[in-house]
Amino acid sequence: MWRWLHPYAKPEATYHLLQKLLPWFVALTLVTLVTGVIWGLAFAPGDYQQGDSYRIIFLHVPSAIFSMGAYMGMAIMGAIALIWQIKTAEWSIPAIAPVGAALTVVALLTGAIWGKPMWGTWWVWDARLTSELILLFLYVGVMALYFAFDDARTGAKAAAILSLVGVINLPIIHFSVEWWNTLHQGATITKFERPSIATSMLIPLLICLAGFAFLTVSLVMMRLKNEILRHELHRPWAQQRLEQD
């Protein structure tokens, strides 16, 4: 019932919360990402098998993990939007999708570039890369659906349903691609699955993981702020906000 009681206050409160938290997250992103990347590029020891090309891992693995993570987050927001009809959750879908898609693109680019020295070709139908490519298609589908509607609320609802359908399918797709991969080219070296990673490499990787997590959250928060303003543009508080910044 409370959503009938505070129909106006809620997005505004969320906006102010985001406003307060965002600088901290941006700061954390910068600190962890810069530390992680410099550590990974300059200080971590070279890999005895792959030489220095392995340093792409510090971008590839975190972006791949959080491209999936962002999709999960989007689906959770979609479920919240559909069940409790919370507007902010609806608006977070167009906030998350482009960030997730960008992370997927990063994972694909770094994976492809990494593949060139390893396999001698830019693209190999490796299980992880194929999964990421399909994930990109899923993101594209959600965004295309969202933007296809004139009414943003309907678009958000449609995108929410689709992201839920996608999140149920994601494990199935992942599993089927892995299985397909072992079926068709079991002989290829799997560069990504390293049985153990040296601590000297693990620490910068963990820092980079944290950096990408903060980066994802910061970008989503920035976009969500925009979405809130976009939908509350007719309200005085949003207009004041926009004039102040």
């Binding site: 009938w4 129909p7 009414d151 007719h234």
Partner: protein, 218 residues
């Protein structure tokens, strides 16, 4: 006619109803109660939100704010009972162009379990005799409307919500429909309908709900 055991709560109650469509306020803070046996006419100019109000009352459209209750409970709480009591004919009349008038009526009977009604008699009454095997898509607008309105004779629902039922009908059609309205009200049924022209109904004086056009743009 099946009737839900009457309680103190009115049949339909609208509370603080608001609708905002496409960034425009259609209506705000609408409060009214519809009791069983009443005839309600919703009037107002184009764009005042008549159709939206009816669709909110059917539960197809969610109000931007406010609540519709059916015998004191929100619609979604006893949705299936509400649907059993409800007959809605929107401005899209749910007539299948690929089916003939008789077939359209036949499936309607199947879905509302009113097979005991004589289709031929009704088709004759509505002036559709001779056209019963023609595909509905080939009929005129008024005839298609008549095909849609056959539903009013093949229903067990007590609450009728009708969007512009009189449009496209000729004088005879309007008279038939009015007569059917009277029958239904006299049997204890309830009708909510929209009409942009004011209508004189013999024997019945409808309760009126007028919606104003609000130019308010958010």
């Amino acid at each position: 006619m099946t009737q839900v055991a009457s309680t103190n709560s009115p049949l339909l109650h609208a509370e603080q109803l608001s609708s905002i469509r496409g960034g425009r306020v259609l209506f705000e803070n609408l409060n009214f109660s519809v009791s069983a046996g009443q005839l309600w006419q919703v009037s107002g100019p184009n764009g005042a939100g008549k159709s939206s109000l009816l669709r909110i009352l059917t539960g197809l459209l969610a109000p931007s704010n406010g609540l519709v209750s059916f015998y004191g409970k929100p619609l979604s709480h006893n949705w299936s009972e509400y649907c059993e009591q409800l007959l809605f004919i929107g401005h899209k009349a749910a007539v299948k162009g690929e089916l003939s008038a008789r077939e359209n009526f036949h499936w309607q009977q199947q879905l509302s379990s009113t097979e005991d009604i004589d289709a031929w008699e009704l088709l004759e009454k509505l002036g559709l005799l001779g056209l019963e095997d023609e595909l509905t898509a080939r009929l005129s607008a008024g005839q298609q409307r008549r095909v849609a309105l056959t539903r009013l004779w093949a229903t067990q629902a007590s609450l009728w919500i009708l969007d512009e039922p009189f449009t496209a009908l000729d004088v005879q059609g309007i008279a038939l429909l009015q007569q059917r309205f009277v029958e239904h009200i006299q049997n204890g049924g309830t009708i909510i309908f929209t009409s942009h022209q004011s209508l004189t109904l013999s024997d019945l004086t409808p309760e009126k709900l007028s919606l104003e056009y609000q130019g308010e743009i958010l």
